[in-house]
């Protein structure tokens, strides 16, 4: 497959990258790992005149954990380094699980979490986990830095809340308390190299009596972007988590999604799998206590 012609630029700093983004505007595309972008270019979906390759920017591939501030993952941190990180596995297991499900070892050695988020696929595994952990994105542009909660980042199908010249520089997950546990499950045909038919992340908070005081459930691959399901969440709050309650939450989650039919599954099947995987994800999170 022949790649369209383009100019490859490799800035040495975020500031320089933003300068290039301002200079070239719509003609340019940012590239971290490129494992989505290069396919779009080969398929003729995108033909940027300029590619701003970010990988030579130093210091943006860190994973930093602080008990008060939480977890900060740089925009160039590779997916494989996230799933292998002890602080991630210990404190944010649903993120480690979601990242591990992405594509293959080779892709995760090149692709980044920020790239997965900015590619904005409705089935992106990592995004559901970021939703329930209440992640936020730090973005930098010509006018400085600002923080965007992940829930506000998607404004439509593949439409990001980034202004011209802005780029994501890191993703932050707030600290997880002792009484909060989360899990991510995806329904796939293969264990690798497969997109989720349905992906569900659930985080539940229990008080000392085992009663749920807060719940966050995010659904992937069943709407134009990842969505929370307030109806299912409200079922859990004020109750003990049992298989019966989890099933009721699953039935409510079905009302909060609008899946499509495609090559992987019909809309009807996805609807039903939202019920099943919401139930399983809630119970998997509860099992972690």
């Amino acid at each position: 497959m022949i790649l369209p012609e383009f100019k490859y630029l490799a800035p040495g700093s975020a500031e320089e990258a933003i300068g290039l983004l301002v200079q070239y505007g719509e003609k340019a595309k940012l590239m971290a790992g490129g494992t989505d972008l290069i396919n779009y270019m080969k398929d003729g979906i995108l033909a940027p005149e300029v590619i701003i390759g970010l990988k030579e920017i130093k210091g943006m591939d860190q994973i930093v954990y602080d008990e008060e501030k939480g977890l900060t993952i740089g925009a160039l941190t590779k997916l494989i380094d996230i799933e292998r990180s002890d602080v991630v596995k210990e404190n944010y297991p649903a993120l480690a699980e979601a990242v591990h499900l992405i594509a293959s070892t080779q892709i995760r050695n090149k692709g980044t979490l920020t790239g997965n988020v900015c590619n904005a696929s409705p089935s992106a595994d990592s995004v559901s986990a970021l939703f329930v952990y209440g992640a936020s994105l730090t973005v930098k542009g010509p006018e400085g830095e600002r923080v965007i909660p992940i829930g506000d980042f998607y404004q439509g199908f593949k439409k990001l809340a980034l202004k011209p010249g802005e780029m994501v520089i890191s993703i932050t997950l707030p600290p997880v308390k002792e009484n909060e546990k989360a899990a991510y499950l995806a329904h796939t045909v293969r264990k690798a190299m497969d997109l989720a038919i349905v992906g569900v992340a659930a985080k539940i908070t229990l008080d000392e009596n085992g009663v749920c005081t807060d719940a966050k459930i995010a659904l992937g691959a069943v709407a134009i972007s990842c969505v929370r399901t307030p109806q299912a969440e409200s079922v859990l709050i004020g109750r003990k988590i049992t298989p019966e309650i989890a099933e009721i939450a699953g039935r409510e989650a079905m009302k909060d999604c609008k899946p499509i039919s495609d090559v992987r599954a019909s809309a009807e099947y996805r609807h039903d799998m939202v019920r099943v995987f919401t139930r399983r994800a809630v119970l998997a999170a509860a099992d972690r206590f």
Partner: protein, 159 residues
């Protein structure tokens, strides 16, 4: 057409080469460097036949630009044997009959070598995960997994 000269380390040797910006790393390796051990399969990052190591990490060379390797270390299947001696992984693939048509083999060996460099004692599950992005259409996975496990064992015994 945007052409440039890049400097990188190829299988341990400092190398300069002329590239075009819109050249995939895979086409650069096969057509410019003439190293055809790296195979071209799906060109979409699905099959793993084009797996190489960049700074020791296994990646799909079809999912990278040649321009990205400027200043980095590239290892291809041709860099695995040292001084005319096959590596332990290569020897075990032969001993265990872990290949039939052989098209996936260079990619499998790159993935296996990368795994053993970071994890000298992998479980069977870890071996399977390491080659999850490598398709073998002869479906000889059992022998491949066995060969990688045997190679790990042999390397540990030597050390």
């Amino acid at each position: 057409m945007s052409k440039r000269i890049i400097s990188f380390v190829l299988n341990g040797d400092p190398t300069d080469a002329v590239i075009e910006d819109n050249m995939s790393l895979l086409d650069f390796i096969r057509d410019t460097l003439g190293l055809t051990g790296t195979k071209k399969g799906c060109e979409q990052g699905e099959c793993g036949a084009c797996t190489v190591m960049l700074d020791g990490r296994p990646i799909n060379s079809c999912m990278a630009f040649a321009a990205e390797i400027e200043g980095h270390e590239l290892t291809t299947i041709e860099g695995i044997a040292k001084g005319g001696q096959l590596s332990v992984v290569q020897k075990k693939f032969i001993e265990k009959w872990a290949l039939q048509c052989g098209f996936c083999t260079p990619g499998m060996i790159m993935s296996a070598t990368a795994l053993l460099s970071v994890n000298p004692d992998p479980t069977e599950e870890e071996i399977r995960v390491a080659i999850e992005g490598n398709l073998c259409r002869c479906t000889g996975y059992a022998k491949i997994v066995e060969a990688i496990g045997e190679a790990a064992k042999a390397i540990r015994e030597v050390q």
